[in-house]
Amino acid sequence: MGAAPFDWRTLTPSRLWARLSLTVRVMLGASLALVFASVLLLVVSTRQGAEYSRAQIDEHLASEIDSLERAIGEWAVIGDFANIEQFFRQRVGQTDIRAISWMNATGHFLEAVDKDEVRRAPGWFVRWTGVLSPGVSRTLSIGGRNYGQITIEMTATPAQNRLWDGFLNHLAILALALALSLSVILFVLNRGLRPLSVLTRRADELAGGDYSGHIQRQGSPELAGLIDAFNHMTTGIAEAQGALRDEAERLSVTLSSIGDGVIATDVDGSVEFMNPVAEAMTGWTINEARGRSVLQVFVIIDEATRGEVDCPVGRATREGRVVGLANHTLLISRDGTERPIADSAAPIRHADGVIHGAVLVFRDQGPERRAAHNLRESEAAYRGLFDGVSEAIYVQDAQGRFLDVNQAAERMYGLPRSDFIGKSPEFIAAPGKNDLASLPSIVARAFAGEPQRFEFWGRRASGEVFPKEVHLVRGRYRGQEVVIASAADITERKQAEAELKQHRDHLEELVHSRTAELTVARNEAERLARAKSEFLANMSHELRTPLNGVLGMARIGARDNVGRASHETFVRILDSSAHLLGVINDILDFSKIDADKLSIENRPFALAGAIGNASSFVAGTAQQKGIRFEATVTPSLPEWVTGDSQRLQQILVNLLSNAVKFTERGEVRLRVAGDGEDIYFKVIDTGIGMTEEQVARLFQPFEQADSSTTRKYGGTGLGLAISQNLARLMGGEITVDCAPGGGSSFTLRLPLPATAPDLVVRTESVGGERRLAGLRLLAAEDVEVNRLILEDLLIHEGAHVIFAEDGQQALDRLEEAGVSAFDAVLMDVQMPVMNGLDAARRLREIAPALPVIGLTAHAFAEEREKCLAAGMVEHVTKPIDVDLLVAAILRHARPNGPIPSPTLQSQTSHATFPLKGRESSSSSFKGEVRRGMGLVDWSGLRARYPGRQAFVTKLATIALSSEQETPAKLRAAAAQQDLVALAFIAHSLKGVGGNLMAQGVQELAARAESSARQCEPPAAMLAAELADQVEALLAELAAFVREDGVQRPASAQ
């Protein structure tokens, strides 16, 4: 490589090191390190081995002397030297003991020596390791007597030989490791440094300007990383070069495209660069100008003096700062054209700050001067407009101060413009007539871009006060954001408005006056409407009373004239009267709805009971017409719901009656289903149906399908209107779906939320337990059958019972026996002589602590309230449920001894029509059970009194005798329209029917009682029907008693 010959005389370690290649350096360094480490390892391991050997020999020596002492002790005591000597020889031959000797107290000496040792370790090694042969002597003393001295000398030769061998082995291994390591290093370096030469070659290429291509990644990770970095650097340099070229290009384009002329010179003022604008303005091309003095190319004179002006380039390069040109400078181009210009020159510096040229930038001022001229003209035009408009215009700054006003404003206030400038609007405000405090915020809002409009009272210079309307908008004025206000004098408009207001006030007075008159008229109309409703209500009542008389008389006439011609007449009177009574009742309901006096109850009731009642009402009529009637109830419906049971029944009766009325053949079906809280009652018939037009008028009061309907079927046309109103009052509605001749389908939807049944405490008898044992009861019940049943069940439960047949008797019994003779009183409500309610009131006075439990045949809330109001503590419905009655008694009775605590559980108080678990049977409403035999559910009755046939017979016998006169009484009451008596008898029969498990009688009696209490026309008819049924019942009871009398003696034999 042409290196200078090395001068060995100047050789120093550092110079020598500097001349060595990397491979030699690594080899040399590694060799030194390995040799040093090897020697160190050899020394340390040999010294450690020697130390271990020494410790081992010492330990062995100590152990040997101990065992030797023990071994020869016996022989030494006895003096058996032969054994001792033999033992010594044996030990020397077998162990590392070199010599053993023993001299006894008498001077007897024994010795054994091993002479077969060959030492391989050189003397220096033995001295260096310090592993020498140790020896020790010990006196053999037993029981305090000296038996001689033992001496042992151990041999170190085997240990020395082992150490020496190990030393040599280690030395050989280390030499081999050194040779191997150096070979590997040499190999690795040779292979590993090869990529460096490639790198060197590539660096040379890069220096030559060749940026293309990359070195293939190779070699160790470090070198591969170096190659990556080199490649990255190459890429970076190539990109930087490209960027530099791009930048130069961009600069050139920029300079060429800007609107100013640019001339660059060197430090001597010679032109180096001109852009196209400079070429155009000077008339020189760059090629012509390059190298020429700038003074020759860029000729400028003073516009005013026409004298020469100094070129700023010279000053910029001299002074090193930006130099501007004076105004009114003209550039004279090569062709003599003159242009006003503005220019400046700036020095160009190297990175080290040395100025190496200047750049001259200049602009043609001609267009600017033309623009300024135009602006002045525009300003004059604006001023003309500003002052020419009729509205006053004010220009205000953000604080509301006037910046300018037009001539109209001057005229409006009679003030010159100069008086306005810089002042706030307050100075033109009429004192006390404006809310000046709000002005700044109005101006601020307008300034924010929100146009403002307001009225403002101004004061002219003459002192005159006037109103004006002001509009504020945001605008620009002389380069600043301002508020522009325009104001118009509204004095005339204000005057017009004042007049208008006066007219309006007058009009309002008129309206008030008329309204008062109308209110009086409306109140009068409402009063009249109320009076009408009251009149209707009173009238209906007044009409019903004589009508009931007519009905009764007609019924007697019909009954007594069967087979005669007049019978038909009486039947017609009966029908007409019944119809008339229905009409009156409808009118009464309608008038209540109309007068908004109809209230809806909201209390729990058994859904099935309501459906059953309504169904039974029409079942008879349907049967008479030969129409099949069927009621189907979805089993999933709740057993108890909250709502108005009576009104529900009224609607259902209306819908069902209509269906039966308008159906000549086929069937009427009631289907009850639920959807959430809503329950749907669908009444479907196969009757005449209706047209769409008829349906549209259907729910209007006094409307029927058409007038012929009225003629044919009768009715007031109020029923559906009332039903619809009731349904709506209850939050539901009635819808209809039908076609003429295709039957009708009315759907009543009512929200009837499911509810828990009335919670009662029920105590059930367990295993024949006598739950009322020891209790003394007073029971008032007028009906003998009921008395019998009550007596039976109370005695069966272990109570002592005293009976009274009416309220008065009950009071008498109490007086006779004393107040403390009873624990509780069971009181039927409806009794002759003195009813239960009166008796309860008296009892409250006589014996306030004695609990009275009411027994009634219906579960109406009204009835219960009456009972409680009369001072009763509870109310149990008939027919009596034993468990419920027992629970009620236990709850309130005054016990003489401990009473079993009742079990709390929920159960329905009385469900006559259970829904759960089965479809309700349609046969229940077909009326068969009301005719002839089979009124009493004998099997059910026997099940109620299991094994007590005699009691059942007794029950039948008593009912037979006590109710013998009942049919006649019923008929008499019906004939005399004695609805009170009728209700009374029906009430009793309801209880008797329940007790005898004659469901048909019970239901019919209930309806008759209900009708009688409400003074409804069907009451008399129902009473007659009930009388027939009671007769049939009596016949059935008589047959039963007769058969029982025959069978029992027979079975007794």
């Binding site: 002790g73 005591v77 305090g144």
Partner: protein
Amino acid sequence: MMHRILAVALCFFLAGVTQAETTYSFGVLPQRSAVLTAQYWNPILNYASGKSGVRLELGIRKSAEEFSEAEGRGEFDFVHSNHVFIPDHAAAAYRVIGRAAGVPIHGQIVVPEASAVKSLRELEGREVGFPSKNAFVGYAAPMSALIQAGVSVTPVFGSNQEGVMAQLRSGAIPAAGVNSRVMKEYAARENFRYRALWTSEPYLDLPVAVHPRVPVPVAQAVRDALVSMAADPEGLKILKASAAGIKQQTPWGFVPALDAEYRNQREVYRIVWKKEGR
């Protein structure tokens, strides 16, 4: 006066020289290993030497037989052995001057506690270990009992008391004749549980006897030194240390004794020796 003082001093000197030059052997019947015997007796003899002014040296042999034969030949000046009562040793004419303190000892025929052997009769025809043929409580006494019981056994000799005990413990022999006290000490030391099939009448412990050649003052001095040892705190300390080495129980030390007290032992030897035709 001066002459008298010199004469007395010379007498004492001469006496000291004489006594210093004469060493009396004190043979101990091997009942344990030689080292244990030396560890036990050397401190006692050193004490006695110091107290009596009589130089005593422990005399011991490899086995009881060897010892017995040497004793029969009268080789020891003093002995601690009951072989002096063997009929054959009468010629040596050892005379009892004292004995080891303590309650009389018994001879026993013992078996390991777990052994199935329950009576002497069950030993008929079997091997029974004994310390040596000359042992008294270990051989003569048990053998005389076996002879009198009509039980014939095969004697196996273990050279000393503890040797035969070690054989019994290892199961090499089913039963052994032993000194009851040595057996008890051995069992305590080695944690060995055993059961006695037969126990003899009480016999006094081994006597210390003196050969007729020993001058009476010397014998007297030695006897006095030994007898007074337990009463001297220094002597008692030595006795305790020696006893501790072999786990010997109290009382320690020596008491005076006479030949007449050992008459029953002479009788036993006589019976056995006669039976065995020795």
